[in-house]
């Protein structure tokens, strides 16, 4: 959520998520993030959300330079004002992070021991070899980074047209974005993933009859597996605000105001992937 309208945004999603920020945390976060933006010369700085730990909670923010889809720098804090840079995502820890079932503790230096699943080799439907389950030690900081990157990748949302691709391929926040209209706002096809597109450029373009090369290059959220079920779209405040929940990462909430450029997402949760989602429908 952009720090510019953080309070308004939090207020709008407050009906639809559990614990938000209390006034003290809000004041600390807003002002310390502005300082952080100044120090690092970010073009935009965003409050990302909170992941609950047992002893302490992690507050997370990220800043972007000119290219808002490219390099994002994530920061975390346990006290709302000392912001520490988050290590870059370690792709090797992906599986470990997924299998780790212990809750986050709140201490970034804590080492978690994770037993991976044994690996099996198959030959004609017969298991011929099973390896010993590998034991991996994982620092909580790395785990946090892995979680945050994954949640952002899978559930961060932006309305169609909010990101504009310049001629030199950098994507920037569209200053001419006027917000979605009444007919568009309750349709999942008008919301995109806030990440580098994974689908084919042409197929993304072809989804819209009135495609625009500069704004329709992103993946829309209705294509995410399970199709049209991965996100739940509700309308609130006299149908003036659309609220989108992620069902696969419960706690991720997105809002967008009708005919306004204001939109944003925030995550408030315990960082657990809802692997049982298909059972729950």
């Amino acid at each position: 959520m952009n720090i510019e309208y953080l309070w308004e945004g939090l207020d709008l999603i407050s009906n639809y998520c559990t614990q938000k920020l209390n006034p003290e945390q809000y004041i600390l976060i807003q002002n310390s993030l502005l300082v952080l933006q100044n120090e690092n010369r970010f073009k935009n700085i965003f409050f990302w959300g909170r992941i609950d730990g047992i002893e302490k909670d992690y507050f997370i923010a990220f800043g972007t330079y000119a290219d808002c889809l490219g390099e994002r720098k994530f920061y975390y804090s346990t006290d709302c004002y000392n912001w520490l840079m988050m290590p870059y995502e370690n792709k090797e820890l992906f599986e470990t992070c997924f299998l780790c079932k212990e809750p986050l503790l709140g201490d970034p230096t804590h080492l978690t021991v994770v037993k991976l699943d044994p690996k099996f080799s198959f030959d004609e439907n017969q298991i011929i070899l099973a390896t010993e389950p590998e034991v991996v030690k994982m620092k909580e900081e790395d785990r946090l980074s892995c979680l945050v990157n994954r949640i952002t990748e899978e559930t961060a949302i932006i309305p169609r047209g909010a990101i504009y691709k310049l001629i030199d391929k950098t994507a920037i926040h569209n200053p001419l974005f006027r917000g979605l209209e009444e007919l568009e706002i309750d349709d999942q096809a008008y919301y995109c993933h806030y990440r580098d597109p994974k689908n084919d450029y042409i197929s993304n373009l072809a989804k819209k009859p009135d495609y625009n090369y500069c704004i329709d290059f992103l993946d829309t959220i209705d294509e995410t597996f399970p199709k049209k079920r991965a996100f739940a779209l509700n309308m609130g405040f006299n149908d003036r605000v659309s609220i989108i929940h992620s069902c696969i990462w419960p706690g991720m909430t997105f809002f967008h105001k009708l005919n306004s450029r204001k939109h944003g997402f925030a995550y408030f949760g315990n960082g657990k992937y809802n692997i049982d989602f298909l059972f729950m429908l």
Binding site: S14, C17, Q19, K20, E102, N270
Partner: protein, 641 residues
């Protein structure tokens, strides 16, 4: 030179445009041309220019020529480039958007779009009400505003009267229970505290909800209500209120329920007896030609195979729900989707529903009548599942600082409580289902003490594995029923003996008692059950203690001086460390018992049948038939191997 002139001309035009809108073409031609050239018509074509003779280089002429090219009207949209460029320049100068060069194309496109969407381009025949209008009407209707008459505002005296009456009633109740009801159930006050903990709703929603709760409170059936929390759904969310029904209402429903339960027990007792009498009788093997035998011989014959298995009907009996006003059904729950809706009461919860709800994991949709597809099958619709979930969450997570509540009519002093428990042990009655009320002598704990979970206690009874709070002893109930049915003087003595035996049999599965500290909570997941935080770190004087359940994420309780409140805001899902594993399907039932007398033989193929037919016609080919039989045996042996 030429470029400069064009620029000047365009600037002139933009200035003119801002003054006289619409007829720009005319102005431009008049302004930029000298008087002799103003004879060109409004929509000039450049071929007309060519006709007039000029000696090159003539800047005036070239500028005019360029302009007329730009002003050429498109045959598709009716616009021309000159106007469009002029419009863009005007907009850029007026609005001064930053970095306009980077999205010049987008800006230009937007402008054209706006022009196309100009209201004068369409004749609006019909006014369509917007979506927001519907919601606005609903909200206004729910507020019950005074009716507006021609003379001006006319206040509804009726509603004011009602409120006064209501206040009087409440005062009477307050006296009856010896405490002020409204303080601790004051929704707005609580929401203020929640907002300091970071758990509030939007201000507008809070206000509307408080009005809605007031409406509920004024209902004649409702004695007292409390905001319980919110459960999210895929399409809509549920706002839930916990309600104490009035005694009259409880009595009315109680009698109905008792009748129903008794009926069920009597049905079960009877069906049980019948079930024991039915026994499968073996007959001769089906298929043998037994009709030709006389009946005497038949009776002497032994069946050569096991008969067709009889269905063994086992009547199932669901444990009856607790009576309304006791146990899990002590409180009633009302839900709405939006604060403008009418409150809907949820049905009572049955032990079976609790049991199945523990085994399944389902998201709510927001529609109370949605069917639940699950394994094991959930007995009921979404409203029943919602009620069962509420019961589980309430029982597991409603806590308060120790000493905040007390059992009704009894002092909380330790000595007496011990005695009290002791008494109950003697009586053999589980005391979890006591009515509790606020303890007037409660002295607030120091916030630092409350940081230890030892000082927090459960205030709602534990649900035993049976899905009830009080154990329901089926055998005892059945015996009671039979006692009532065939009570004769001879049997009475026997019954008395039986009664003595019963007391020994009558054992209850032990659960934690009512005011058990939450430190003793046990769970199968490897997490600490509770997390305690201060609402503020830097404000050390006025801060609240906020405690949240990790087992039911979304369940919070705060304590500040004399005020304690609990709330649940979440998806209604219990924490599972790794993933949910649905219970296994039962093994497939056997169609027919396996027996040595039954052999499985593969059907003869078409060729074999043909061979057989041939052997009938030509007996000399019989040896072929033998061959076929031996082959078959060989196959069987192979199969056995």
């Amino acid at each position: 030179m030429c470029e400069k002139d064009i620029k000047i001309a365009l600037e002139n035009c933009s200035e003119e445009l801002s003054i006289v809108d619409g007829s720009c073409n005319c102005i431009i031609s008049q302004d930029s041309h000298s008087s002799q050239e103003s004879l060109y018509p409004k929509k000039c074509k450049h071929h007309k220019l060519l006709k007039t003779k000029k000696i090159p280089p003539n800047i005036q002429h070239e500028v005019n020529m360029a302009k007329s090219i730009l002003q050429e009207i498109s045959s598709i949209s009716g616009n021309n480039l000159f106007d469009h460029l002029a419009e863009i320049i005007k907009q850029v100068l007026d609005n001064r958007p930053p970095n306009i060069i980077d999205f010049f194309e987008e800006y230009s496109r937007n402008l054209r779009e706006q022009k196309w969407n100009m209201p004068e381009n369409f004749t609006d025949v019909e006014y369509k009400p917007t979506n927001q209008n519907v919601a606005a009407d609903k909200i206004l209707a729910s507020l019950k505003l005074p009716q507006i008459s021609v003379d001006g505002l006319e206040f509804c005296e009726e509603t004011e009267m009602e409120i006064e009456k209501y206040q009087n009633d409440k005062a009477a109740i307050g006296v009856k229970f010896g405490r002020e009801l409204n303080l601790h159930e004051n929704f707005l006050l609580m929401q203020y505290h929640w907002s300091l903990c970071g758990l509030s709703f939007h201000q507008r929603e809070v206000y509307q909800l408080s009005l809605s709760l007031q409406n509920l409170q004024q209902h004649p059936v409702v004695e007292n209500c409390r905001f319980w929390g919110k459960i999210f759904g895929l399409k809509k969310s549920y706002l839930i209120a916990e309600v104490d029904l009035t005694l009259d209402e409880i009595r009315k429903r109680e009698t109905l329920m008792i009748e129903e339960i008794n009926e069920r027990i009597s049905w079960y007792a009877r069906s049980h007896e019948i079930g024991q009498n039915v026994s499968p009788i073996l007959k001769l093997t089906p298929g043998t030609n037994w009709c030709s035998y006389p009946t005497d011989e038949l009776s002497a014959m032994k069946p050569i195979a096991v008969g067709i298995p009889q269905s063994q009907y086992v009547p199932s009996f669901d444990i009856p729900p607790e009576l309304i006003g006791t146990g899990l059904n002590r409180k009633s729950y009302f839900v709405i989707n939006e604060s403008t809706d009418n409150w809907i009461e949820l049905p009572i919860v049955t032990p079976k529903q609790i049991d199945v709800a523990r085994k399944i994991k389902k998201l709510f949709t927001g529609n109370l009548e949605t069917e639940i597809f699950s394994f094991p099958l959930f007995p009921g619709r979404e409203k029943h599942l919602l009620r069962a979930t509420i019961a589980r969450i309430t029982s597991g997570t409603l806590i308060s600082p120790s000493g905040y509540y007390k059992r009704q009519g009894k002092q909380i002093t330790e000595h007496e409580e011990e005695e009290h428990e002791h008494e109950n042990e003697e009586d053999g009655i589980l005391d979890n289902d006591d009515i509790i009320c606020l303890n007037e002598d409660y002295k607030p704990h120091d916030p630092r003490d409350l940081m230890h979970i030892l000082n927090w206690v459960h205030v709602r009874p534990h649900i035993i594995p049976q899905g009830r709070i009080k154990y329901f002893n089926l055998e005892k109930e059945l015996r009671d029923y039979k006692k009532h049915q065939n009570l004769s003087p001879e049997e009475e003595e026997l019954e008395e003996e039986l009664d003595e035996e019963e007391d020994i049999d009558y054992e209850q599965p032990a659960g934690p008692p009512l005011f058990e500290t939450i430190k003793n909570d046990r769970t199968t997941e490897n997490i600490p059950n509770w997390t305690v935080r201060f609402s503020s770190i830097h404000n050390q004087i006025n801060r609240m203690v906020l405690i949240k359940s990790n087992l039911w994420p979304g369940s919070y309780t705060f304590s500040y001086k004399l005020i304690t409140d609990s709330i649940y805001i979440g998806w209604g899902q219990k924490y599972i460390a790794r993933n949910y594993s649905p219970i296994h399907l039962p093994p497939i039932q056997e169609e027919y018992p396996n027996d040595t007398t039954i052999h499985e033989i593969s059907d003869p193929t078409q060729e074999e049948e043909a061979l057989y037919a041939l052997s009938k016609i030509k007996p000399e080919l019989l040896h072929l038939n033998d061959l076929f039989v031996t082959e078959e045996e060989g196959e069987e042996e192979e199969a056995d191997d």
